[in-house]
Symmetry: C2
Subunit: 675 residues, 2 copies
């Protein structure tokens, strides 16, 4: 009988459940269980933000199959809302529908992760919303000579009473306008309340007359090359617009260390780069607002991530210390402040949250990627790699997570390679070499056909074939190895010159001619060495973390960032960038840093989660590790000298192992690039 | 034995006591008991802020008279401090002296209330220090590749460990400079930490390399006429400088309501007055800093009080609503923000605290005066009056406090009086009339002698005799009453013209000639009426509050503000400004609002105290009180029609009561002045 009078309600996707007396509004039940359902109007059936979907009476586990209506029919207020504003099929307003029997309720999670991001596994979590900014509609008592409380004080009292805050502060800048807004709204207003860390106290950061029913947030990943931004509804979680722009700091230096050098050499260098990146961010905000038809003043929260140098320059901090040992971060913890303090134009009360950095070369971007991929949330051992001038490497599972960076240098980005270039139309990105003839075929960014397919010449006439980008370099070196052109030690076999005109003598070494004509693109012995050095650095970092974890193999590999999106996992493994793994478990996750920023924007619990995780991550400094040198030397070989690749071998036919030629090791590189 | 091993330590003036094991540092004992002893260096015997005075072994109550040394002798560190910095006779550093036997310890309270303020009673509390800003010296771990915590994060960790904070935030503007200051200070720095409401969390608002041993605060009362400011050491409580300046808003309107009118008439009026008062405050800050040899960047905290119109204009809030019913304050509660947000130049991290307003015409100045005089802290019934264009009246004791304002108009300030002027050199401030001859004598501001004393003419040659100020007006009308020139209904007796040339006919009424020549100063019937109206308003407000409290008399009366400093309580009572009271219990307390601001500056507990008190004060709106009209009419008489003045009569010979002439009442004035 108790079950009949106190029906069971199950909320999805959280799975939270509880029994409530018949007649309890669904919104109230959700709050009682800590299920986050948005509401601006506070149960007046006017904002429409508290929509839910109802699966009447079907508990799979509990075998409840009654067909009696378990939720109240639509009342007058809800029908008025449906008539005026419209309600999607199957949706109800949770403030206006009451529990009348056992229910399964879906709380729509409208967050759609950016299309470029691959999220196939069912275990990947939807972002449950619990943003740091809430809109709260209230009706405020009019001034009364009998109770001479100020306008602001009556506003705060109404907010505390209706929305359960224990204490409210207000941004001082807003104080002078409160009385006017209250009168303009005829004593009904919507307040934006920022409540991040402290659960009982909030701060009024914006105020509108009447009902305000939309607020946006920005999630932004500041990369050395590209700045990527999402504009997101804080109320529905919907991504309203996404855009990207080149980081204008490139004109001060291509890679991180050249930007640090620029600061060291130029007294105004730091400020110039700070202003440049903030201007670019302001430009992107304009762009996403225009795309979504949003006003900048509707932006109330922002989350930023970036590597340590980007992080420091964005915040106006001198990054010089990051250029030399002990690579001291000026600030590693999460930071929270106002957008106006860094010159980002949004609502005057807009807040900024910056994720913590993990270590001197493992930044807030790596922290965000860690939050997005969540190695610490699962049992299997996940390797998370973000390749740039420095690779940021995280390895772990629920029990333990370790992280380091490794100085891969810019070779993977096409720098220091004779025919290298950035990934751009005209760049060779895919390469295949016929092991019999040693003839290559390749594909170029911007052209669908391979170079040996019909129509290639016509299509490539517009782009040209201008050079080879990072993924192309990895493939060509791996294919050269698979075709027997280079040994596992990376030496180009000059004897093959007799068999193929593609093998060309250059004094004491040989090159492989990938493309003749203008420009002529050849892979030299030095190019192979540069790739070997880069991949050895990455692989040595990975092996070091595997040593720390005491594991011989990893279960899953995630490539974060642009680099990871272009390379083929097979070639990455053939070349020995990454350890042996089932190829099906190697996946590019795109802008994972941006995803992490989005998660922190939409759920303040994720902020605490990554702050806590970053504190617990064990930071490994490769420069202090005695084993790193030998791991690096071993990693020069292709795939790698010391390690068997049983899973790879089972999937790809590798040439037989050779005896290694002594004296050919590239040796340990002299510290980090650019210094 | 326990007593011998755990000596008893009594701290004065708080009276807190406890037993501690021998060898406990005095500073530690003080902290354990919640006795506030300042310390910047954290027990390193370098800042010298933790000085105490020791009364060895003499508990008056406990009759301990042992002459054994009950405190440890000076150690090496303390001797070094004494040698280098000097230590006043009898002073010890509490961090370096340990308890060796029963002790009475004086914690010096260096606060000296401004000399103009009368504080004679022993019951008046010294301001125990517990400011919202503390300087905290710390030594920070150097960066270490093994523990890649950021500079800021190591700073926060050191502060939390050494000074017991649970959580620390930092002003974002400071973030970029942390790494440089740490290095400049060789990893030893002093942080200014703001901690007001929240006891566990603080905010780093400023940072200096090495030991920083002084910080200042500002306590400021923004009056309609005068702005008064103290510069105070937040570490010792010493008032370093005090100054005042005219409120430049006077050029927009003499009194409050004319300034409100100016805002209503001029679109830029509010902003112009806001900028004017802030500029004047900045000028005063310059002045007190120059006087004390302090830097503006050493100012870290500020407390402001003012009446509601001054409060609003200072904060940039439109005061128009205060000009008409329901007299709605835009914000009544205490406000806290940064000095930079209102354009007051101080340390970039400096904080501002503004006391709460009590009601639409009872402002933060009245709240501050209430804090300073503390009716709610005592059992006797205290009347606290601050007379201006509106009188702010507070009546109460520990059980209950009520407050109201009453529209006295500007007569008490010399306006609307034929010969009236502001209190300034040359103004008549004291008057005596010979009851036999009706001849007056008077004293003039800036001249010591009375007008009938030798040397007056010579001394007055420099000042002139230019007019009559508020206190002079009160005295002359009271003396006219005592001399029988006016009846208790305020009518100048024309019949006396036959007896004295001082009584002069002006058409249908008469004047009293106070001074002949240039300028000629006479008290007209209209002048007497203006004073009657003003005093009736004040007295009616007082009686209304007495009705609310259900008391027939008050125990003590406090006059706050400049007006109260000049008037003689006897004449105030003869005229019937204030109710019957023992004259010894009537006292002027000078700038009590400024004192309250000082208390809130030096002890954040006082902030909570007045916030709580203001919430509890019952606010009476005279316009809503049906009895106010009849109280006002009765109060037109001198001293007052309805009330006996037994205590006054016992102390001053009053003329016999007359039968009141009907139809002579001035009637209720039409609402508040200036509207």
């Amino acid at each position: 009988m108790s079950a009949a009078e106190n029906p069971l309600v199950l909320f999805m996707p959280s799975g939270k459940r509880g029994r409530f007396p018949k007649g309890t509004p669904v919104l109230e039940a959700a709050r009682a269980l800590g299920v986050y359902v948005e509401s601006v109007c506070g149960g007046r059936a006017t904002c429409g933000r508290c929509q839910i979907e109802v699966q009447e009476g079907h508990f799979a586990k509990h075998k409840i199959t009654s067909s009696v209506a378990h939720i109240s029919p639509k009342g007058a207020k809800e029908e008025r809302y449906e008539r005026v504003r419209g309600l999607p099929e199957g949706r109800r307003l949770s403030c206006s529908s009451t529990i009348e029997g056992d229910l399964v309720i879906d709380v729509p999670q409208d967050v759609v992760i950016n299309a470029q991001v691959v999220r196939k596994k069912a275990s990947d979590r939807a972002i449950e919303r619990d943003p740091a900014i809430h809109l709260r509609y209230v009706e405020v008592e009019e001034p009364d000579m009998h109770k001479p409380l100020g306008d602001l004080d009556r506003l705060e009292a109404s907010l505390m009473r209706d929305w359960g805050y224990d204490r409210l502060d207000i941004d001082f800048a807003l104080v002078p306008s409160v009385q006017g807004i209250l009168r303009q709204g005829k004593w009904a207003v919507t307040a934006a309340i920022h409540k991040d860390r402290d659960d009982s106290a909030g701060t009024i950061v914006a105020l509108w007359p009447g009902l305000k029913n939309e607020a946006f947030g920005i999630a932004c990943d500041i990369g050395s090359t590209t700045i990527a931004m999402h504009l997101v509804s804080l109320l529905s979680g919907r991504i309203a617009a996404s855009s990207g722009a080149q980081n204008p700091q490139i004109r001060f230096g291509e890679d991180l260390m050249s930007r640090v050098s620029y600061v060291m050499m130029n007294p105004d260098g730091r400020e110039a780069m700070t202003l440049a990146v903030r201007a670019a961010i302001n430009g992107l905000v304009d762009k996403v607002c225009a795309e979504a038809g949003a006003e900048r003043t509707d932006i109330l929260d922002m989350v930023f991530v970036g590597n340590p140098v980007m992080h420091h320059l964005f915040l106006g901090i001198d990054p010089t210390e990051l250029g030399g040992a002990p690579f001291a971060l000026a600030a590693s913890g999460a930071l929270a402040f106002r957008a106006a303090e860094i010159g980002i134009t949004a609502n005057p009360g807009a807040r900024v949250y910056v994720l913590p950095c993990i270590a001197g070369h493992v930044g807030a971007d790596a922290a965000a990627a860690t939050l997005a991929e969540g190695p610490y949330r699962q049992d299997s051992m996940m390797l998370l790699v973000d390749v740039g001038t420095n690779a940021e490497i995280v390895l772990g599972n629920a029990a333990r997570t370790v992280a380091c960076s490794s100085p891969t240098g810019p070779a993977f980005e096409g720098a220091e390679i004779s025919g290298g270039q950035r990934a751009a139309p005209g760049a060779i990105e895919r390469v295949r070499i016929d092991p019999a003839t040693l003839e290559p075929r390749y594909r170029v960014i911007g052209v669908d056909a391979w170079s040996d397919e019909p129509g290639f010449a016509e299509a490539a006439a517009t782009t040209g074939v201008t050079g080879i980008c990072g993924s192309g370099i990895i493939e060509v070196v791996a294919e050269m190895y698979l075709a027997g052109i280079i040994s596992e030690d990376g030496v180009i076999d000059g004897a093959l010159a007799a068999r193929s005109p593609r093998i060309i003598e250059n004094g004491r070494t040989f090159s492989y001619l990938l493309k003749d004509g203008e420009p002529r693109i050849a892979i030299s012995q030095n190019d192979v060495r540069a790739i070997q050095l880069a991949k050895a650095a990455l692989y040595a970092g990975v092996r070091l973390l595997m040593q720390k974890q005491g594991v011989a193999e990893v279960d899953t590999i995630r490539f974060a960032g642009a680099f990871g999106s272009f390379i083929d996992p097979k070639y990455a493994m053939v070349l020995g960038l990454i350890p042996d793994c089932d190829l099906a478990e190697v996946r590019a996750v795109g802008n994972a840093a941006g995803d992490g920023a989005l998660m922190a924007l939409l759920n303040r619990g994720h902020r605490r989660e990554i702050e806590d995780t970053v504190r617990r991550i064990e930071k490994i400094e490769t420069a202090l590790e005695p084993d790193f040198q030998s791991l690096f030397v071993n990693a020069m070989a292709i795939p790698n000298k010391a390690d068997p690749f049983p899973k790879l071998t089972a999937q790809v036919a590798l040439p037989p192992r050779q005896v290694r030629v002594e004296g050919e090791s590239g040796g340990r590189r002299g510290g980090r690039r650019g210094r």
